[in-house]
């Protein structure tokens, strides 16, 4: 196995872990042992593009910042205007979708990042749909935003064109924060 294929395993492991946690915590309590069938879709990963994003601190920073904007504004709309989580998330996503991708018709690498930032905002809004139920304080929100932004960055160039990837990132951020918080409390 060469260096490149070794690093390309990272996105595979990240999305795979999120889906296995989903099967464990959401599907299994609903349908019991039948949730094993939920492992079959994981075979589908091999038909999708998987490519690790090169480590770039500014890109990670932008993804974390965008993800946190999505979480914060979604929670704010839910609490302030007493709306449903769907309305709040769809509103934030709609507003993000109108951010232009180009400036004066120029499309540079930096401007391409705007497109990713918009998607990270939408992924963050899914995490924000949770409301304050799983976030006892501002620190928990910040940690979730960092986890979500890093996951988004790792999966940036992988599984493109697969519906539900952003939702999986939002769920991954929440569940990984909850698990780490629980483990720390036990310790």
């Amino acid at each position: 196995m060469n260096q490149e294929s070794r690093t390309n395993i990272i996105p595979l492991l990240v999305l795979g872990s999120i889906h296995i946690l989903f099967l464990l915590y959401i599907i299994t309590p609903a349908i019991g042992w039948l949730s094993v069938l939920g492992l079959i879709p994981i075979i589908g990963y091999k038909h999708l593009p998987i490519k690790i994003n090169k480590l770039n601190i500014s890109e990670i920073g932008l993804d974390v910042f965008s993800f946190s904007l999505g979480i914060l504004f979604t929670i704010w709309i839910i609490i302030k205007f007493d709306t449903s989580p769907v309305f709040a998330s769809a509103l934030i996503g709609s507003l993000a979708s109108f951010i232009p991708n180009t400036v004066l018709g120029i499309k540079t690498k930096r401007i391409q990042n705007i497109s990713h930032a918009k998607l990270a905002i939408y992924a963050g809004s899914f995490a924000g749909m949770t409301g304050l139920k799983y976030f006892p304080d501002i620190l928990s929100l910040i940690i979730t935003a960092i986890i979500g932004g890093v996951i988004y960055n790792l999966l940036r160039n992988s599984f493109t064109g697969l519906g539900g990837k952003l939702g999986s990132i939002g769920f991954g951020a929440i569940i990984l924060y909850s698990l780490s918080a629980t483990l720390l409390t036990i310790w």
Binding site: I40, G93, A127
Partner: protein, 118 residues
């Protein structure tokens, strides 16, 4: 009756988003969010208690419609949307208000269709 409404809502969300991206060339983000917003607004204005899950189903299924037309065609999106509606009916009581559960369900649905189709 409930499962029928759920499946119809799922088709509206999934197929509607896919049509907006493939036929009108909308960005997947814009198609998913605007369709979900249009469906969610009446439920914010009026109290429609009987069908309160409709915006959730449309929103969740719209993630299926965000899939690329290089991987999915109209028929596959239709089948995926129906499967999403059935899965939602089975497991939505276990979502516990956790964000991203609709998206992850949509993702696993899309992957199932990919596995079955290849």
């Amino acid at each position: 009756m409930v499962i029928l409404i759920t499946i119809i809502s799922s088709i509206v969300g999934g197929f509607g988003t896919f049509l907006l991206t493939t036929k009108l060339n909308w960005h997947a983000l814009k198609a998913s969010t605007l369709l979900s917003l249009v469906v969610a607004i009446p439920f914010e204005i009026w109290e429609i208690k009987e069908y309160v899950s409709i915006p959730f189903v449309v929103f969740g299924a719209s993630f299926i419609g965000m899939s690329s037309d290089k991987i999915f065609n109209n028929n596959l999106i239709l089948i995926a949307s129906i499967l999403f509606g059935i899965l939602y009916t089975l497991i939505n009581s276990n979502f516990n208000g956790i964000g991203g559960t609709l998206g992850t369900t949509a993702c696993l649905t899309c992957l199932t269709i990919i596995v079955v189709n290849r």
